[in-house]
């Protein structure tokens, strides 16, 4: 089973919940960090990294001896990654989506491909090998998160319990990380911002048609808006996590949820089973 942990708003406790779900599991588990712009799961899981692989994307390489400066490639490119002023094109690798279109329309076969790094994947284990940690990380200055997320997903299989830590928001990187998940846990906090962004996240997950439920973090700190909304939309609330200053302090040092609130362990342990029984579907 693959559970994706997501949230509309950042900083609601998404990584805290994803890590807690991973630690609570008594079977082998894979933790996949798809929040590749700011991957933080490893801070709490402290894996021993066995291997680091570059994420490479292909960008066009122009053979100027073959190029007739027709500019067809630049006119075709939908992402403005090639620019030509009756000259061989200039390539802007940061804008390239590696679609292959320029090569397709080039009449003289002047376009081939070179690989450029945009991020890295680190593969490691934690807790004596029980937890596999796969982390994607976008290079600073790199702009396209989806290819890094796609590469993280190539390491995932269906036969082992997997927790996917998704990026915040509702745009393309989120859709990429939620794809193929069997279930989504949406983490929010009991504040007006939390509620507003939860509604966006619910809209997203409903569009994708994936079953989901909600985790309310710091449920006793704000107002009842999130709970009222879930009740009126008939959305199941999987867990409510109380606000404790000890939790904030433990988190600040890289401690996990159960260090601060041990009584939540049994509740988190039961989540996969409750999902299998169809809670919140």
């Amino acid at each position: 089973m693959r559970i994706a942990v997501a949230s509309g708003k950042g900083g609601t406790g998404k990584t805290t919940v994803a890590v807690a779900l991973t630690l609570a599991s008594q079977e082998p588990v894979v933790y996949a960090d798809c929040d590749v712009e700011e991957p933080n799961g490893s801070i709490f899981l402290r894996p021993e990294v066995d291997r680091v692989e570059k994420v490479l994307v292909e960008v066009p390489k122009i053979d100027e001896s073959k190029c007739n400066a027709c500019g067809d490639c630049a006119r075709f490119c939908q992402f403005n990654a090639l620019v030509s002023f009756n000259t061989p094109p200039l390539v802007f690798p940061d804008l390239c989506h590696s679609c292959g279109g320029c090569e397709l329309v080039c009449p003289t076969g002047a376009i081939s491909w070179r690989k450029v790094p945009i991020g890295e994947i680190s593969l490691g284990t934690s807790d004596g090998g029980r937890i596999s940690v796969i982390q994607g990380k976008l290079d600073v200055g790199g702009s396209l998160a989806p290819p890094v997320i796609r590469q993280v997903k190539t390491y995932l299989t269906d036969d082992v319990f997997t927790v996917v830590d998704s990026p915040p928001g509702t745009s393309c990187p989120v859709i990429e990380s939620l794809g193929e998940a069997d279930y989504v846990l949406l983490v929010t906090e009991a504040t007006p911002f939390g509620l507003h962004d939860l509604k966006l996240a619910v809209e997203t997950v409903r569009e994708l048609g994936t079953p989901f439920s909600v985790v309310i973090n710091r449920f006793d700190e704000g107002d009842s808006g999130v709970e009222d909304y879930c009740a009126s939309e008939k959305i199941h609330i999987m867990v409510k996590i109380p606000h404790r200053r000890e939790m904030a302090e433990a988190y600040s040092r890289g401690g996990n949820l159960f260090d601060a609130i041990p009584e939540l362990l049994d509740i988190f342990r039961s989540i996969p089973e409750r999902i299998e029984k169809g809670v919140g579907v």
């Binding site: 939908q78 397709l104 600073v140 915040p168 745009s171 700190e221």
Partner: protein, 290 residues
């Protein structure tokens, strides 16, 4: 005209609450919400929308199933795995996977693929009690958030010029990817809001690298500093090492949540210990770019 962009790397550090306070404290500014993916600033500023404009950007492939011969060439050439075979044996584009590259349109031997422009969201020009505001909403799962961010910034700058304002205050998105890069390039000053946690520290360092990469000066605020004073000191050291300057500390203060529930900025609420710190920090920010 100057432009201040407030970013955080990590989400949930208080970026929008602090931006709201800056909006209240600034005297002659245009406000811009560039967190187009999950915009929240409007909940504090209650903008009255004056103009709404569709955000049309890029295209999306749509296969006319009646004309499709299911030859599969498009599926083979699509690098995004966005074309699937339906139960009726036709090719169909999955809108969320399509990146709008036009390769399928080009290769289809029977010209069965349309390529309409896509409506990715909308943006607004509004009035707030603190001055004009430009903000936007990106459609669910849409590409081109970077372009929408650029549109919001461009419009905010144009309105500032038109209305004789000397400052644009931008609430930026979390992270370091495409929308963040679109939010900060060419800005006068970045204000980074972080928190004293390992994650906050880690993400702030990445944001400062980005600031350096684009040669933009940066100030760093440590919010909720008293959650971990030692980490706060470490972050302030890293701030200097990363080529930025500490702007000040803000204590953990539940008044932020109360203000949010009341739909107001903390500066207007005038309660709790954080107000004074924010006012001092704003003075520092303003002196830095004035």
């Amino acid at each position: 005209m100057k432009e201040i962009v407030i970013i955080s790397g990590k989400g949930g550090t208080g970026k929008t609450s602090i931006t709201g306070c800056f909006a209240a404290l600034a005297e002659n500014a245009v406000l811009a919400d560039c967190d187009v993916d999950a915009a929240d600033l409007h909940m504090l500023l209650a903008p009255q929308v004056i103009e709404t404009t569709d955000f049309i950007s890029g295209h999306q492939a749509v296969i006319r199933e009646d004309d499709c011969t299911a030859c599969g060439v498009c599926m083979e050439k699509c690098k995004f795995n966005a074309i699937k075979l339906t139960e009726e044996g036709k090719c169909r584009v999955e809108p969320y996977s399509c990146e709008g590259c036009k390769v399928c349109v080009q290769v289809c031997p029977v010209n069965a693929i349309d390529f309409p422009e896509s409506l990715c969201g909308e943006w607004y020009f509004s009035h707030t009690r603190f001055g004009p505001m430009v903000h936007a909403k990106l459609g669910i799962g849409q590409e081109n958030s970077g372009k929408l961010v650029s549109t919001v910034r461009r419009e905010a700058a144009a309105r500032a010029k038109e209305l004789d304002k000397d400052l644009v205050i931008v609430d930026g998105p979390p992270g370091i990817g495409c929308p963040v890069i679109a939010s900060i390039t060419g800005a006068s000053l970045l204000v980074v809001v972080t928190e004293p946690t390992i994650s906050g520290k880690h993400d702030m360092k990445r944001v400062l690298e980005l600031a350096k990469h684009f040669s933009i000066p940066a100030l760093v605020i440590v919010n909720k500093w008293d959650i971990n004073p030692e980490m706060t000191r470490e972050i302030e050291k890293d701030t200097v090492a990363g080529g930025a300057h500490p702007a000040g500390r803000i204590p953990y203060d539940r008044s932020f949540t109360v203000a949010q529930i009341n739909g107001r900025t903390l500066v207007e609420e005038k309660t709790g210990p954080a107000v004074e710190n924010i006012t001092t920090i704003w003075e520092k920010v303003w002196q830095t770019i004035k």
